[in-house]
Symmetry: C3
Subunit: 130 residues, 3 copies
């Protein structure tokens, strides 16, 4: 099919996935929910929500860069986590990622489960480009 949008497909993206890592639609970039799975599908930071959050933002940074953007472009995040334990500590990761702000809008809720076994947090984001 033809599409009115551009899919962002980073190197190593599994061609069997039925979703794109991100989609650029006009000046918006919709980034799919990400967990801390590495390029081999192994979970980084098992049991450690702060490390998982760090790794997710590393991956997100690469997707943003692939779309010609950076964390400065992120306007909204939604965080889904499976435990409240340690969640408050992930704010320190946001400070490293987004500096002194201004910060994106954000929503975070505890869910009943995530698809990736062992994932404690999944983050989706929207960015504004150009």
């Amino acid at each position: 099919m033809t599409r009115p949008f551009t899919a962002v497909v980073p190197p190593g993206w599994n061609p069997r996935y039925t979703f794109s890592a991100a989609v650029r639609a006009g000046n918006l970039l919709f980034i799919s929910g990400m967990t801390a799975a590495d390029e081999n599908g192994e979970l980084v930071g098992p049991g450690d929500i702060v490390r998982q959050t760090e790794y997710i933002f590393e991956k997100m940074g690469r997707v943003l860069a692939h779309a010609g953007a950076s964390f400065e472009n992120v306007v909204e995040t939604t965080e889904y986590f499976t435990t409240l334990d340690g969640y408050a500590k992930t704010a320190s990761v946001r400070r490293k990622v987004f500096g002194d702000g201004p910060y994106p809008a954000a929503t975070g809720v505890q869910v009943a489960g995530l698809i990736r076994p062992g994932a404690l947090i999944e983050i989706k984001a929207t960015a504004l480009i150009g």
Copy 2:
């Protein structure tokens, strides 16, 4: 009230609902979360997440058509499901719906419950039009 957007109201929409099936805002179409309830409020595919997913996309296709769009315009989906059982099989439905891609961005999380009794999955979507 006057509105800067256009509500998409498909035939048979319950006038008592306090939300629209979809809203067109500029070149974006925001589609409300949908479960596999038919026009009489009966759940299609009880206990069968693949059938429910099929039916949801049938309904979504009608809302998209009503807005002058199609699945080619969908830039993002969010899926909320109540069980991981059979969830992986819903990828086959996405292949039928979105063909060989490029695919929308997507996020999927397991929630504690859905409003519609018996619903195993609810899907919201955003589309880019024009």
Copy 3:
């Protein structure tokens, strides 16, 4: 950092938060998920989902006003609630807030928990401005 967006920071916003109350990105306003916590961090309407919903919309109205908008501009809401008890009654709040419509698109799911202790509902929203 410089940003391609404008953060909406209402009076009394906690400067330690790593998110903005809302972000204006082009003609879209992304409003962070809100619970019924007042300016002192106290939960309004403990145990009462209808009262919590009312208070959230009061807060959201102030954020919208701060961005030069009103409820007429809201194109989409996502509601996360921790219980189905009384949820149906929150429709009456939406009728007060959005009048006779046209209504925003909406999605509502039951989550496993919310960050704010005692919160029964959290609402995020997107608005179209100008």
